[in-house]
Symmetry: C2
Subunit: 260 residues, 2 copies
């Protein structure tokens, strides 16, 4: 198996650029997943793994995972620990990193099932929040996630890691705007989550199926046109003093109430 040692190697340069640039991920149709567990999750979900990078020590320590992954991946390279630190996005790299073909899940959205329960994200900007939301969606069995094009990149390393691999398994679609999407899918009962005591309190909301709960930007909430495009305005009643919850915490409570 070939060993890469130089930062100037073309593949190494590609990996670093994929880690950093959403534009480059879009252009190449590739993204990065890092860590033994996440790489195995990727394989088990059936994605195309283009390249696997491992350190010798990590391959020996995780021999069973390494064997399966290196057979599954189109290409496998060992890299020196120094070089791995260079392509890694984490402070304590595990020595497994792979380049994966981005997923087109649009077909999974062709038909909105009558009993579907969806989450829509409108201009969510923080990849840690998005990763946590995707993880919550999978944990609670959300049917699928609809994201506006101005959300952060779902294929960024932080989202992939924070989602604990949910990004591989969860159906999602990226649309121009949530308002457009809802207009094109009038059968979806839409619930805009707002911070407004006049909105319907979550404790009293009855989610009619198929339904979608729409969550906004961390600082600014939902766009006015997104709210206008929804059938309902709902809010999480808060007894305390804080203005609002963290977006991923609010999402967890919304998903919980929608699903349970």
């Amino acid at each position: 198996m070939p060993t890469l040692t130089s930062k100037d190697n073309k593949l190494i340069k590609t990996a670093v650029k994929l880690k950093k640039s959403a534009k480059f991920r879009k252009k190449t149709g590739l993204f990065v997943a890092e860590g033994v567990r996440i790489c195995v999750d990727a394989m088990l979900s059936g994605v195309v793994i283009d390249t696997l990078f491992v350190t010798k020590a990590a391959a020996e320590k995780n021999a069973a995972e390494y064997e399966k992954l290196s057979q599954y991946s189109k290409n496998t390279f060992t890299v020196t620990p120094e070089l791995f630190g260079y392509i890694s996005d984490t402070q304590s790299p595990q020595g497994f990193l792979c380049l994966i073909k981005t997923l087109d899940k649009s077909c999974q959205f062709d038909t909105i099932k009558v009993n579907g329960k969806f989450i829509a994200l409108d201009n969510m900007q923080d990849p840690n929040n998005m990763g946590t939301v995707l993880r919550s969606c999978e944990a609670f069995g959300v049917t699928g996630v609809i994201m506006s094009a101005d959300c952060c990149d779902v294929f960024s390393p932080k989202v992939v890691r924070g989602s604990m691999g949910a990004v591989f398994r969860l159906p999602f679609i990226i649309c121009d705007t949530i308002a457009d999407y809802l207009e094109a899918h009038p059968q979806l009962n839409s619930y805009a989550a707002v911070v407004d005591s006049d909105a319907e309190p979550l404790t009293e909301v009855k989610f009619d199926l198929p339904c979608v709960a729409v969550i906004g930007n961390e600082g600014n909430g939902l766009k006015p046109q997104t709210i206008d495009s929804c059938n309902h305005r709902i809010t999480i009643p808060m007894g305390g003093k804080a203005e609002s919850l963290n977006a991923s915490a609010a999402a967890a409570v919304l998903i919980w109430e929608m699903i349970k």
Copy 2:
């Protein structure tokens, strides 16, 4: 007002060390809060602000906040933008940072009120999670938070920022172990949050007051001795495939159910 320009200035060195070292925060009894909003929140909550650092541009841009804060703070210094970037913990510094006396809130815990609703954190390690949990606690009106001594430092910059200032306002206490604390406070009805389908599902739990929901470590959950010390074992039923929720997402759902 004095202007600091050198990285070798003793106060600047102190600020940087306070940003990085929990041990140094403990030794000096000081911690760092950064950002216009957070610094104003600190002042409004009545904490002792020892030192305020601002850039000239930020002081001019936020003149009203600057005037109040500089009157409130014992000492105020302007620093150059370069120097501010050096003491700052954020990628886009707002030009306001203050050093605050750590808070002793033990007295607020002297009596567990009969209608109190508490959260306990057992070995929570991620400061982003802790900040989000504190923010959720404040938003939902949790009475107070009990933390084991092996949690991450509540005065770390990430916790302070992620909590949106809740750390200034929310009663909390740090104890050696949650098990010891519960043993010393037998009047508290304790609910250990576990990932175990045999535990009582959250949908069926009736929280008897005063109560405490106990949340564990991100990777390992609760320690066995913590679970043993609790009256109840509860779990968040999940229909989906993920093994468990992110700790702060699980906390949000638990707090929501406990409070609503």
